[in-house]
């Protein structure tokens, strides 16, 4: 548990959009999924998740609909919009470039 890292600022949006690109999800599940997929390496601050979701919705990248959760309760499911998919692709390539660059720098020195 101790080697968990808080999600880097600015990457939360990217992670959220990547996570819901496959299927619509509610907020709790998004947080869980990020943690799972990263093999518990990344921990989403739950407090910052919801403001991020609302901001993304407000920007029009994602949209929300009420649906039934896995335990049959009413939950708010987020999914990517068309604009969101474009944005995701752009963000992913931006991130690739950034991390490749950072990696190169780190390996040289």
């Amino acid at each position: 548990m101790s080697d968990q890292t808080d999600v880097l600022q600015g990457t939360l949006d990217l992670l959220i959009m990547r996570t819901i690109a496959l299927e619509p999800m509610h907020g709790w599940a998004i947080a869980q999924r990020i943690q799972q997929i990263s093999n518990d390496l990344l921990r989403v601050q739950q407090g910052s998740l919801y403001p991020a979701l609302h901001r993304l919705e407000h920007q029009g990248w994602i949209m929300a609909d009420w649906g039934a959760s896995e335990n049959n309760r009413r939950a708010r499911f987020y999914s990517l919009t068309k604009a969101g998919r474009k944005q995701l692709a752009a963000e992913v390539s931006k991130w690739d470039r950034l991390s490749a660059g950072v990696n190169l720098v780190l390996k040289r020195t």
Binding site: G27, G47, Y50, H54, H58, S69, T81
Partner: protein, 883 residues
């Protein structure tokens, strides 16, 4: 798509706030439950799992706030919440909100009333298309302050020979005539005036050049909206009627729209008529060739006023100099003509005392508000402390306070508007109702408020509430939440010094107003005791405006049963006397000439000192006899008897004397036959005392008649008026001399009422403020006073303790107020233009100062005594047992 989505989300979040809030609530709730489920599945107890989920999540309300912020609707949300919160606060303490709104509204309403007047003079342009193109061509004032006008010939030349104007017209304004006992004023304009102005008639048609031409068949006029209202009571069939002015029937061909004032600032003339008909209405303007004209032109688009002025000056330099004796004409100026005051500074000067007095009331009211809020500061500190410790940011709290004050300000502005309308109509109605009827039918109008007045009100309200309500509240946010919740007052919440300064300020302002009131009252009282030196109680003046009817008027007056005796005078009693230089064999004196009939001295009861007055047959201005006043006799023959002496008369060389009509003053030699008492006249309108009387008769053109009447002078005045109306409905101005003297007391009384109402208001506000502060202090010091009483302080001692709180600020305020009143008076007396006021109003009347000081001290003591008595009645055991 994205845009649409955003728009929808934004709109939805704006309009379905409740649903959005419940959605957010449900979403976060679901998250917490789901997290608790997960933890419970790992073997935690249900309650522990819930608690753990919450802990991991963080502050729910803060996250909710962040979510709202993320949506970008927080601003509107917060505003709505702030407004609701503020309204709830007002409901909880309605008296405070009412106090703030009503005091600010009262002061602001008064100031707004003054601004409405100023607005009329300064900012309200006339409803003329492209009014900024209108300019008057004028000559600069000469050294005597007179302005030379243009002649018809010059106007025609200007129109023909210059090309800076699209077109220009000439006019003569303010031609007064009498119609059915009403004074009616008219403007005489060249026929193209309305084409130049570009204003069509609201009804009928405007004047055309044909109406003004030599071939015009009938006399026509257009009425202003005011004239239509005043003279025809808005008769819709007015176009078929006509107006008889000095025996000329003018056919009414049109009525101008209500907003149009003919480029004058306040109210237009009653009618406009062609310039060519001026001679028929105004007997003094014999022939339109000589009358002085104002020239107004519409500047060509693209021509700058400077370029136009240069062109006009060049044109003027080429004009033949026609003045006799020839002297250099003053240079030409171009003055914007927009229907606003031509001397804006004068308008400001006229309204400045209003602003000053009303502003004082606003200041006193705001001081009350500030005092109230300072006193409430403790309660407010606790409330704000709780909000801060619950996690509200200082910015949010300040925004909330701003919203609260803005609401108060808007309410105050709305109430202030209503008050300003009431104040203005009260002033106007009061003036109209109390004006002596002889001054005539000046019908004042309540000036309209426009957007500038509203802007002024809102700005004023916001400024005053922010200055006096927000600052104390802002200070309250600079606190330590924890201690204030516990009720500890952290910062000095009893700013005794600020409060004392405010009270001192209020007393100072009240003193200033009350001293003015007392000064006016004393002056009005002494003015009624003034002896004008002549009999005024039953004297009636008849002015003859039409010479052809003179014989009939004199005859009719003599036949009137209520008339005891008739005398003639030139100029009329209150008219300006003609200056002259009188010489005895060794001395010279500046004197004034008055031509009177032999009955004059008897009718007006001017006592004879020596010699005789004119004999019954001495009625001709050519007779070489004169009666002099004591002052003249003293100046010319200080050591000897004036009777029988010879006086040489020289015409005063000022050019004005040649213009006026009436008997001409030629240089000649007269023999003094008698000396009469001086006639000092009225305080507002003093007469020159050094007078030389010369004989004349009521048959002489230009003389006015003075009649001594039996019985009620007002009834006699009406009887005479009726008789003269029978001769010619347009003739005869009849006024009783008693009213002339009443006029001066009227103005002083007006000043008195104005300042006494304001001073009373100021004092009431001050007293209520003082009362509130002392009551609050007593409340705050209950414990201390209780202990004092328990330790043996007597009741007088406790009362003295409370009352002494007010002595310092009240006496300081009195001193400063009295000092500034005296200072203002000194400035007034030192100002050359205002110095004559000092002779009418005794601005440094010590009794007035003492009286107002007494009133203020008595009122302050009364305000202090009630809280003091309450403090003295405190039961020590009870107060000590509390808290």
């Amino acid at each position: 798509m994205r845009l649409w989505h955003m728009l929808r989300s934004r709109l939805r979040s704006l309009f379905s706030r409740d649903r959005r809030e419940s959605d957010l609530q449900e979403e976060l709730h679901f998250h917490l439950e789901r997290e608790a489920d997960r933890l419970a599945a790992r073997g935690m107890s249900r309650d522990a799992a819930r608690l753990q989920a919450r802990r991991m999540f963080g502050g729910v309300d803060a996250i909710k706030d962040e979510c709202r912020d993320a949506r970008g609707t927080a601003f509107v949300d917060d505003a709505i919440r702030d407004i609701v919160y503020a309204l709830r606060g007002f409901r909880r303490a309605p008296l405070v909100a009412f106090m703030v709104v009503s005091t600010v509204a009262l002061g602001l309403g008064l100031v707004a009333a003054a601004f409405t007047l100023l607005n009329v003079f300064l900012f309200r342009v006339d409803r003329v298309p492209n009014v900024h193109e209108m300019f008057a061509v004028e000559r600069a004032r000469n050294a005597d302050g007179d302005r030379e006008h243009f002649t018809r010939v010059q106007f025609d030349a200007l129109r023909r020979e210059t090309s800076v104007f699209t077109d220009s017209f000439a006019q003569v304004r303010d031609i007064d005539s009498n119609v059915d006992g009403h004074r009616v004023s008219g403007a005489f304009v060249t026929g193209n005036a309305f084409q130049v102005l570009g204003v069509p008639a609201a009804m009928g048609r405007a004047l055309t050049p044909a109406d003004d031409g030599p071939l015009a068949e009938r006399a026509v006029m257009v009425l202003s909206d005011r004239g239509w209202d005043r003279l025809f009571a808005r008769d819709p069939a007015v176009l078929s009627r006509s107006l008889l002015i000095n025996r000329t029937a003018f056919e009414i061909v049109g009525v101008m729209p209500g907003g149009f004032r003919g480029l004058t600032p306040v109210t237009p003339d009653d009618y406009w008529a062609p310039l060519s008909l001026l001679g028929q209405v105004s007997p003094s303007a014999d022939g339109t060739e000589s009358v002085g004209l104002d020239i107004i032109g519409r500047l060509k688009p693209g021509v700058s006023p400077q370029a136009a002025l240069t062109a006009l000056a060049a044109w003027d330099a080429g004009q033949p100099n026609v003045s006799s004796p020839p002297r250099a004409a003053s240079p030409i100026t171009l003055v914007p003509k927009r229907g606003t005051a031509e001397q804006p500074l004068e308008a400001v000067a006229v309204t400045a005392p209003l602003f000053f007095a009303f502003g004082l009331i606003l200041l006193i009211g705001c001081a009350n508000v500030a005092n109230l809020l300072l006193a409430r500061g403790v309660a407010r500190q606790r409330e704000i402390g709780i909000r801060l410790s619950l996690g509200a940011s200082r910015r949010r709290v300040v925004r909330q306070l701003l919203t609260e004050n803005l609401l108060l300000a808007l309410a105050a502005a709305a109430a202030g508007f209503a008050i300003s309308r009431v104040v203005l109509s009260t002033i106007v109605n009061g003036l109209t109702a109390s004006l002596p009827p002889d001054i005539g039918d000046i019908r004042l109008l309540v000036p309209d408020a426009d957007w500038r007045v509203l802007l002024f009100l809102v700005t004023g309200a916001v400024a005053s509430t922010i200055a006096f309500a927000l600052v104390p509240a802002l200070q309250a946010t600079r606190i330590e939440p924890l201690r204030t919740i516990r009720g500890e007052v952290v910062r000095d919440a009893r700013p005794g010094r600020a409060r004392n300064v405010l009270i001192g300020l209020q007393v100072c302002a009240s003193a200033l107003l009350l001293i003015s009131a007392a000064v006016f009252l004393r002056s009005a009282l002494t003015a009624t005791e003034d002896d004008p030196g002549m009999r005024i109680s039953d004297t009636v003046i008849v002015r003859i405006t039409s010479e052809p009817a003179r014989a009939a008027i004199v005859e009719s007056l003599a036949a009137e049963s209520s008339v005891a005796a008739v005398a003639a005078s030139w100029p009329n009693i209150a008219g300006e006397l003609r200056p002259a230089v009188a010489k005895s064999y060794d001395r010279t004196a500046a004197v004034a000439c008055r031509f009177v009939s032999p009955e004059y001295f008897k009718v007006l009861d001017i006592g004879l000192v020596r010699g005789r007055t004119f004999a019954a047959d001495e009625r001709s201005p050519t007779l070489p006899v004169a009666v002099v006043s004591e002052a003249t006799a003293h100046a010319l023959w200080p050591n000897g008897d004036a009777v029988g002496q010879v006086v040489r008369f020289d015409r005063d060389q000022t050019p004005d004397t040649t213009k006026a009509n009436g008997p001409q003053l030629e240089s000649r030699t007269l023999t003094v036959v008698g000396v009469v008492r001086d006639v000092p006249g009225f305080r507002l309108a003093p007469f020159p005392t050094a007078v030389v009387y010369e004989p004349t008769s009521s048959q002489m053109a230009g003389t006015s008649l003075v009649a001594r009447v039996h019985g009620d002078p007002e009834l006699a005045r009406q009887a005479i008026s009726n008789r003269l109306t029978a001769i010619d409905p347009n003739l005869g101005e009849v006024e009783s001399l008693r009213w002339v003297s009443k006029m001066q007391t009227y103005f002083l009384q007006l000043g008195f009422w104005f300042t006494v109402v304001l001073g009373g208001l100021a004092l009431a506000l001050t007293v209520s403020g003082l009362f509130g502060v002392l009551s609050y202090l007593v409340e705050q010091r209950r414990r201390e006073i209780g202990i004092r009483i328990a330790l043996g302080a007597t009741r007088p001692h406790v009362m003295r303790l409370v009352v002494s709180q007010s002595i310092g600020p009240v006496s300081a305020g009195l001193l400063i107020g009295g000092g500034s009143a005296a200072g203002l008076a000194a400035v007034l007396l030192a100002t050359p233009g205002a110095a004559p006021i000092g002779e009418v109003v005794h601005v440094l009347d010590p009794l007035a100062y003492a009286m107002s000081a007494l009133v203020i001290i008595a009122a302050s003591m009364a305000a202090a005594l009630i809280p003091a008595a309450r403090a003295a009645r405190l039961d020590p055991t009870q107060t000590l047992r509390q808290d």
